[in-house]
Symmetry: C2
DNA sequence: TTGAAAGCGCTAACAG
DNA sequence: CTGTTAGCGCTTTCAA
């Protein structure tokens, strides 16, 4: 893409704002009262005479005054900001979870701000620093367990909870589904259709859920008397469509290729379908595909995708509640929560 | 979904954190120097004797001290936080833009935090309040022009810029593509394939881009001697797949239904393809489809989608630079920027 | 090179 | 019901 017509960015000159400089004392002066009274009005304290209150309110909106929350927060030692860290905001799976978090946060008077970590420990750490440095009150982490472990050591008692992805050993409150069982359900569905050679397209096992689902896949096959072949499994370091597509093509290149594929994410599964098509395989006639998550796109593609539905909104809401609990009562023992999943059968199997 | 085993959330007890209470003066004490010296070391000021510096540094990491940025920011009157407001984090189009913003912000020592506004003026306003109240230094807004207009009035000189969606009349720095020309290019491509009845599936015209693309569509047809029929056009209040699907079905239900459809978003277009299929139409044989944005999914679906590519990453990067410029020099006249688009021809046309 | 002290804007005792 | 005042934790003159 071509050059744009921007100019050089000059050195930042911090602290200078255009028409600024209105503080609580200015308002107090205008209203002819003390700063304490203004503060009381601003914070809705009861013991202020209506007439006084009105004077203050008048002065406030005559002047367009807004509290400086930096100052307020310094005083009250809370920011009413919650952070949500996701490995990839581009993955639609996270969007609905994030909405769940946001709605609960909002209900409780908190702002939720989203951080894209790219599953990178460095980025993640820098966001955790916002917590350490009091710029946020708490955080919800959806990043890989490996990242969480690293973080847990250096940020012991920081107020955060894990969502979707958790390591019980880390000792942090969490909410998730039962990934092991869910993967088993997916595979058993495939087995019930008569498939014996079932492939697994997994993300890389930095993610604990990847390990759990792999175990679920493995055990479900074993229980059916099938020893899953190493060749049937691929671990990818990406959940992008492209990654799924090329993995599927590689899987099909083998002799005795699987007749069914379980992908641990819908985005992967959608890529898989594309990849299958590109090597001349039809879904589900030649190869059946089941995904994971039930993102809204899953029902829109051709063929509509069979998948494991996660209660995304509820996952987010629960995570937020867990965090709020922890904030309200830092010492209490906050429980881990497992929410139910559901197999949604569509036409890809 | 079933009950979870959470407990009641008790009333928040603000300001209380577990093992806390370490401030700069504590470090100063431990190091046997003054707070001023600690501050100087922390901020990398040159005039500190190496031996002193070492003492301080030792005390810092012996104690695990972190600056309280609330206090620092109060002093310096800047937060080094940038806000990005998007109407829907679930729309993949925004993800790459957000990454562009983030990378530039990060390079310049800023944090970028994402806000999902749901295109709701109320939510948007509440995020703008973070700016007004000094919790963030600047903002990038991708919300509809109508929202921006409403906001512009009440938040005159606040440091923000518009991205993708802008109204020149608002007088705020912006970066976008030329939506009018891009839409024209899409339609002219369809015309070149011999189509005469071209449908338009648009979002609702709170979005200025929707109006601009509609005009581009309209004029391109007129120039080809075709008067576009009202019936060929649908305005949707959603960019979800489902919305595109049902709109397409409705379009096809008419006599003299369009033989080609231009959808103003890839998500819509993907829904359109699904909807077309559900009423027995083949793409592109019966109906051609062109989308807009070129999200990564566009190449993965069947058939791969012809679309207008926007330079998403660059849009984000430029928006961030514009904002940084504005912050560095609040009085300077920051330009509007238009970036080039590109027609990507795949198999849906 | 270092320290003492003022003050950023606000809230919350404590008095009155 | 209202005002005075002491900090929250930090940066930054100003003096030494």
């Amino acid at each position: 893409m071509s050059r744009t017509r921007q100019e050089e960015i000059v050195a930042a000159r911090p602290g200078v704002r255009p028409a600024d400089g209105l503080s609580i004392s200015g308002v107090a002066e205008q209203a002819g009262v003390s700063v304490a009274t203004v503060s009381r009005v601003l914070n809705g304290h009861a013991n202020v005479r209506p007439a006084t209150r009105d004077k203050v309110l008048a002065a406030v909106d005559a002047s367009g005054y807004r509290v400086n929350e930096l100052a307020r927060n310094l005083r009250t030692a809370e920011s009413r900001l919650l952070l949500t860290m996701v490995p990839d905001v581009g993955n639609p799976f996270y969007a609905e979870i994030v909405r769940g978090i946001d709605s609960v946060a909002r209900q409780h008077g908190y702002f939720m701000l989203l951080c894209d970590t790219g599953a990178d420990p460095g980025r993640e750490r820098s966001y955790f620093d916002l917590l350490r440095r009091r710029r946020a009150d708490g955080a919800i982490c959806l990043d890989p367990a490996t990242v969480q472990q690293a973080l847990a050591e250096e940020s012991g008692a920081l107020p955060w909870v894990a969502c979707c992805e958790f390591d019980p050993a880390v000792g942090v409150p969490y909410v998730s589904i039962d990934n092991y069982r869910a993967a088993g359900d997916a595979v058993r569905h495939l087995l019930a259709q008569g498939h014996r050679r079932v492939g697994l397209i997994n993300s890389d096992d930095d993610y604990l859920y990847a390990q759990q689902r792999q175990q679920g896949y493995h055990d479900a096959l074993m229980e059916a008397g099938i020893t899953p072949h190493e060749r049937w499994r691929m671990n990818l370091n990406s959940l992008d469509y492209e990654a799924g597509a090329s993995a599927a093509a590689m899987l099909m290149a083998q002799r005795d290729a699987p007749t069914a594929i379980f992908a641990v994410s819908d985005t992967l599964a959608i890529g898989v379908i594309h990849g299958l098509r590109s090597v001349g395989k039809r879904v589900p006639d030649d190869v059946a595909v089941v995904g994971f998550d039930d993102i809204s796109l899953a029902s829109q593609i051709d063929p509509p995708l069979t998948t494991i539905a996660q209660p995304m909104r509820e996952l987010g809401e629960t995570a937020a509640r867990l965090l709020l609990q922890r904030l309200a009562n830092p010492l209490a023992n906050v429980p881990g929560v497992l929410l139910p999943h559901r197999l949604v059968i569509r036409r890809s199997t």
